[in-house]
C-alpha cells in the first residue's frame, strides 16, 4: 500500500493499492468472469444435449457414488489432460470452464515476476516464480495418487 504523510507523520490520504496488487486484481477479475461464463455456457450445452455426453445423463447417477479409481475404470475415463481430446462430448466440455477457473491464478502471477524484478524485490520475484512452478506442477498431471 502507498500513502502520503504530513509533517507530523499523520496519513493524509486514503492508501492506494500497489501496482502489483492492481494488476493482479484486474487479471483475476477478468479471468473469474470469463471462467464462470464458460462454465454456464458449457453446462447449458451439456444439459440441453447440444453435444452428446460420454456418460449419458440418465446414467450419471450410477457413477457418482464411486470412488475416483473405480469411476475411471468403469466409465472408461482417462485421468490427467485426456479430457482435452474429448471436447466433443458435452460432459467433458465442462472441463474447459473448470480448468480455466483453476488456472487463472497461474496467469495472475506471471506479470508480478517482472514487476518485482524491476523494483529489485528479488525475494518476492522468487516467491512468485516458485509459486508458478508449484501450481504448474499440480496442473501438469505428473503427480500420481495411489489407489484406495
Amino acid at each position: 500500500m502507498t500513502n502520503e504523510k504530513d509533517d507530523s507523520g499523520v496519513h493524509t490520504s486514503k492508501p492506494k493499492a500497489t501496482d502489483e496488487q492492481i494488476i493482479y486484481a484486474n487479471l483475476l477479475d477478468w479471468g473469474m468472469k470469463a471462467g464462470l461464463a464458460a462454465l454456464v455456457v458449457t453446462f447449458s450445452i451439456y444439459v440441453f444435449g447440444l453435444l452428446p455426453p460420454h456418460i449419458p445423463l440418465d446414467q450419471v447417477s450410477l457413477y457418482w457414488g464411486m470412488g475416483t479409481h473405480e469411476f475411471l475404470q468403469k466409465a472408461a475415463v482417462e485421468p490427467g489432460w485426456a479430457w482435452t481430446s474429448k471436447l466433443g462430448n458435452g460432459d467433458f466440455l465442462n472441463y474447459v470452464g473448470i480448468a480455466f477457473l483453476a488456472g487463472i491464478t497461474i496467469l495472475c502471477y506471471l506479470p508480478l515476476i517482472p514487476m518485482f524484478l524491476k523494483k529489485k524485490d528479488v525475494v518476492y520475484a522468487l516467491i512468485a516464480i516458485v509459486e508458478v512452478l508449484v501450481l504448474a506442477l499440480a496442473a501438469s498431471g505428473i503427480l500420481h495418487v495411489g489407489g484406495h
Binding site: M1, N3, H11, P15, A17, Q21, A25, L28, D29, M32, G35, L36, L39, V40, F43, S44, V47, F48, G49, I55, P56, L57, D58, V60, S61, L62, Y63, W64, G65, M66, G67, T68, F71, L72, K74, A75, A76, V77, E78, P79, G80, D91, N94, Y95, I98, A99, L101, A102, I106, V123, I127, E131, V134, L135, L137, A138, L143, V145, G147, H148
Partner: protein, 328 residues
C-alpha cells in the same frame, strides 16, 4: 432484464434442462459406448424412487441455501458444503471434496479482485503464506485421494467438530497490539496501511510470529487439500490472533489466499478424474447465487443467531461424517 433476473433465468434453465435432458438422453443410453453400459450394469443402484435429475436439482437448492447461510454466518462455503453434501447426498466423497474445493475457489476468485483493489487483502502478506499453503495443499489432496474413504470420513468428522470448537472458543482481535515487527516480516517488508471506513481513518499494521505462522500454514494447507474444505476457519485465527494482522485484513487476505491454496489442490483432484460436471456446476452456481442473496440479507439479519445455526449445522454434519466413517 436485470443481472439478477438473468441468473434466476439460468437457474430455471438448469432445472428445466435437467428434466428435458432426462427425456432426451434416455434413448441415447442404448447407443452409448458398450463399456459405459457394461459399467452401468454393475454400478451402484439408483436411490429407490428418486429420478436421477432430482439430486442435481436438490444439490442446487441446498447449495443456494448454504450460500446464504455462509455469508450470514461469516464462514466460507466449502466448510459447510463438504460435510453436508458428503453426509446427506449419494455422491462419493472424492467428488464432493473436489466440488468443495472448486466452490471455495470460485468464491475466493469472485471476492479477490475487490478485496485487492480496496487494499483489504494484502499481496505481500498473502504471497509467502500462499506458497507454503498451496504446496502443502497438493500433499493434502494426494493423501486424501490415497486414503480409504472411511478414514477420510472419520478425519473429516473430527475436523468439523474441531472447527465447531474453534468457532465457539476463538477470540477475535479487531486491531491486535503488535509492539514490534519481527525480523522475518521486516526482511520481507510485510506491513502496510489500509483505510477503515467504520472509524474513518487509516490503520497501520505490522505482524509478528511470522515463522510460527508460516509453519502452521503447512498444516492448514494439508487439511484444505485433504478435505476440500477451504481453510478460512483456520487462516483467520492464525493471521489475526497469532501473527497480529488486523481482523478485517486477516479475513480479506484469508479469502484471497483460498484462491491460490485451493487452486493447487483442485488441480490434483481434476487430474485424478474426481470431477463430475453434474455435481460441480450446480454447486458453484447455487452457492454463488446464494451468496448474492446472503449479502442483501446481511443488513436485516441477526448475525449471532445465524452463527448459532451454522454451528448446529456443522455439529450435525460432523456427527454424520463420523457415523458414516464408522459405517453406522
Amino acid at each position: 432484464m436485470s443481472v439478477r433476473g438473468r441468473w434466476l433465468l439460468f437457474c430455471a434453465l438448469l432445472a428445466i434442462g435437467a428434466l428435458v435432458g432426462e427425456t432426451a438422453w434416455a434413448t441415447e443410453a442404448v447407443a452409448s459406448k458398450a463399456v459405459v453400459s457394461e459399467a452401468a450394469a454393475v454400478a451402484v443402484p439408483e436411490a429407490a424412487g428418486m429420478p436421477w435429475w432430482a439430486w442435481p436439482v436438490i444439490l442446487f437448492v441446498v447449495t443456494f441455501g448454504l450460500g446464504i447461510v455462509a455469508v450470514l454466518g461469516g464462514v466460507g462455503g466449502g466448510v459447510l458444503f463438504v460435510p453436508i453434501v458428503g453426509g446427506f447426498f449419494p455422491f462419493h466423497l472424492d467428488f464432493v471434496r473436489s466440488a468443495g474445493l472448486l466452490v471455495a475457489l470460485s468464491g475466493a476468485l469472485a471476492a479477490g479482485p475487490a478485496l485487492l483493489k480496496k487494499g483489504m487483502a494484502d499481496l505481500r502478506l498473502a504471497l509467502p503464506v500462499a506458497l507454503i499453503a498451496s504446496s502443502a495443499a497438493i500433499v493434502g489432496a494426494m493423501i486424501g485421494l490415497a486414503l480409504p474413504t472411511n478414514v477420510i470420513q472419520i478425519s473429516l468428522g473430527v475436523t468439523i467438530l474441531g472447527i465447531v470448537v474453534i468457532m465457539l472458543k476463538a477470540k477475535k482481535s479487531e486491531y491486535p497490539d503488535v509492539k514490534e515487527a519481527d525480523a522475518l516480516s521486516s526482511a520481507l517488508r510485510i506491513s502496510g496501511i489500509y483505510y477503515e471506513p467504520t472509524i474513518n481513518r487509516n490503520v497501520d499494521w505490522k505482524i509478528h510470529h511470522t515463522a510460527t505462522g508460516l509453519f502452521l500454514f503447512i498444516g492448514i494447507g494439508i487439511m484444505a487439500g485433504m478435505f476440500g474444505l477451504g481453510a478460512g476457519w483456520a487462516n483467520v485465527p492464525v493471521l489475526n490472533l497469532l501473527m497480529g494482522a488486523p481482523l478485517k485484513l486477516s479475513v480479506a487476505t484469508s479469502k484471497f489466499l483460498l484462491s491460490i491454496t485451493d487452486t493447487s489442490a483442485a488441480w490434483v483432484y481434476i487430474n485424478q478424474g474426481a470431477v463430475l460436471a453434474m455435481i460441480v456446476v450446480p454447486s458453484i452456481i447455487g452457492i454463488m447465487l446464494g451468496s448474492m442473496v446472503g449479502v442483501r440479507l446481511l443488513a436485516v439479519t441477526k448475525a449471532a443467531v445465524v452463527r448459532k445455526v451454522v454451528i448446529i449445522m456443522l455439529l450435525f454434519a460432523g456427527a454424520r461424517a463420523l457415523a458414516k466413517g464408522f459405517g453406522i
